[in-house]
């Protein structure tokens, strides 16, 4: 469990010891998994055994990578160095040849990167979804709406506080896309740009009594320590689609291309897809991600 505000125990439902127990169990499961795998069939020794994975903070903050990576490292012998940053920086890292493989969720920007030839082998891995959260008193009156754009229009028109990531992350880009659809340029006292990660932005939104657009995983991980509640969900435009991409070795010969390919294949393998589909159920009663291996964006209802 990765949660930077963990020191603040306002939660009444779950006692702290319960969290520790979960943590201990998770550690035992993770260590025993990798342990048995290693003893049964020793991992191969690749020539370049390091892969740099540039990914979004959401995969890291939700704990998904910590859940999956030990398996991959045990099977393949690769050591994965995860750089969890905003999507903007992740894409920039690929463009500069500073990463080997990408796991991100900004389809338009991804396609642009592929178009420029910096990334290849773009494949759909999974999706989760965005939700609009807000204070329980819901001053903009958006609870239960099914259209994200309608909800955001009401937030703007009621001058309710809205927290924007403002950091060119996938989430931020998603939000900007909604404003573009509405033909509005948000601004004013009600529109705050945090310029920080999702966890910190959720906290600020909660403290300021404002709304924000967040991925469900980060919200679920933080729901104990923020006052905010889910207001809008279910709009197909709120889907958050993760693709894996390999950095093009023709552009940057020094990248670990074989390792990157192995990692992409691992994410799409049936076992891994099943694990993705189960991740989070134990903690939140629902999975955080939906596995989409082999599917296309059209399958998810997106043109």
């Amino acid at each position: 469990m990765k949660n930077q505000y963990n020191l603040n125990h306002k939660d009444t439902g779950k006692p702290f010891t319960f969290k520790i127990l979960i943590f201990v169990i998770a550690v035992i499961i993770l260590t025993s998994c990798s342990g048995t795998n290693q003893s049964e069939n020793p991992p191969p020794q690749p020539e370049n055994d390091q892969i740099i994975l540039a990914t979004t903070t959401s995969t890291q903050d939700s704990g998904l990578l910590d859940f999956l990576l030990p398996d991959f490292q045990a099977q393949s012998g690769y050591l994965v160095k995860t750089i969890a940053v905003g999507t903007g920086k992740a894409l920039k890292m690929a463009e500069d040849g500073n990463a080997d493989v990408l796991l991100v969720h900004a389809p338009a920007a991804e396609q642009e990167l592929v178009g420029k030839g910096y990334a290849i082998d773009r494949q759909l891995v999974m999706h989760n979804d965005f939700v609009i959260i807000g204070p329980p008193e819901d001053p903009a009156g958006i609870k239960g709406l099914t259209s994200a754009t309608e909800a955001m229009m009401k937030i703007m028109n009621s001058n309710s506080v809205f927290l924007s990531r403002g950091d060119d992350s996938g989430t931020h880009k998603k939000e900007i896309a909604f404003w573009n659809d509405l033909g509005e340029v948000p601004g004013g006292d009600w529109y705050l740009e945090s310029g920080q990660g999702m966890g910190a932005t959720l906290r600020i939104a909660s403290e300021k009594g404002g709304y924000t657009l967040t991925d469900r995983a980060t919200f679920l991980a933080n729901q104990d320590i923020v006052d905010s509640k889910v207001m809008v969900e279910g709009d197909s435009r709120l889907l958050n689609i993760y693709h894996v991409m390999v950095v093009n070795p023709e552009k940057w010969p020094q990248v670990n291309y074989p390792g990157a390919q192995d990692f992409a294949a691992f994410l799409l393998a049936a076992d891994t897809q099943a694990k993705i589909g189960s991740f989070g159920i134990d903690r939140f009663g629902q999975p955080l991600f939906t596995p989409d291996g082999g599917k296309t964006e059209q399958d998810l209802g997106i043109k």
Binding site: N8, G86, L91, G166, Q196, A200, I204, E207
Partner: protein, 236 residues
């Protein structure tokens, strides 16, 4: 290397073009760190003086406590201040979290131990009989203290510079308690973190140069004062 060069050009352009946002961020940075330095001086100078001149049991223990405080990680300070200022925290009702005031509070906590520690060091390098000499010339306790400050003014100025330098370049606490909210609590360091995460490295480098320039100008100003006081004692 090209990136750095672009960054320098961008910095020059941003400064020359008088970019509104950059000026607002720079001004807020100066205001927050300036006010925090001034307040930490108001707290640290008298307290450091008192500790340097008083002899009491547990003094050594207190000194090592202050020395630890001097090296206290800003993010830890940021975390604690946040916990206190969050709406559900003990001072939540004040509504200070994610405001410049919260940043000033955190920066005071970071800079004050530095000012105290360096004030103690500055006064302890004076001859211990100097205070006796001053009192023996009819100084009131306050006059003696002012005279001791005057005698160690170069080191005290260094303490001031160190305090200011530590907080203007600090990012962890400002990020946590300020929230890096655009037009409200975004200062140079948090803006640099943001621009870096956005992949806008030239802007990040440009902001870094502005920060460097700012720190340089403030230190330059203080050094000029320092030099003038050093020289004036030769001329008077």
């Amino acid at each position: 290397m090209e990136l750095l060069w672009d960054g320098i050009k961008e910095a020059f352009f941003l400064i020359v073009s008088g970019d509104q946002e950059i000026w607002a961020i720079t001004w807020l940075t100066l205001k927050v760190s300036g006010v925090a330095t001034a307040i930490s001086l108001l707290i640290g100078l008298p307290l450091g003086t008192w500790l340097a001149l008083r002899d009491f049991t547990g003094r050594g223990c207190l000194f090592s406590f202050i020395n630890t405080g001097m090296a206290f990680p800003p993010v830890v300070v940021g975390l604690w201040v946040s916990i206190f200022l969050w709406r559900n925290g003990p001072f939540g009702d004040l509504g200070l979290i994610y405001t410049p005031t919260a940043m000033v509070i955190a920066q005071i906590i970071i800079a004050t131990p530095i000012v105290i520690g360096l004030t103690i060091a500055a006064l302890q390098q004076l001859n211990p009989y100097l205070r006796i000499q001053l009192l023996g010339l009819g100084a009131s306790r306050l006059q003696a203290t002012f005279a001791l400050w005057r005698e160690s003014r170069l080191l005290l100025l260094a303490a001031l510079m160190a305090g200011f330098g530590s907080i203007i370049s600090e990012v962890g606490a400002s990020m946590m308690v300020g929230g890096n909210i655009k037009d409200q609590t975004r200062v140079l360091t948090t803006a640099i973190v943001l621009e870096t995460s956005r992949g806008r490295f030239t802007v990040a480098i440009a902001l870094g140069f502005i920060l460097l320039l700012l720190a340089y100008l403030v230190n330059f100003g203080l050094t000029v004062v320092q030099q003038r006081t050093t020289r004036s004692k030769d001329i008077q």
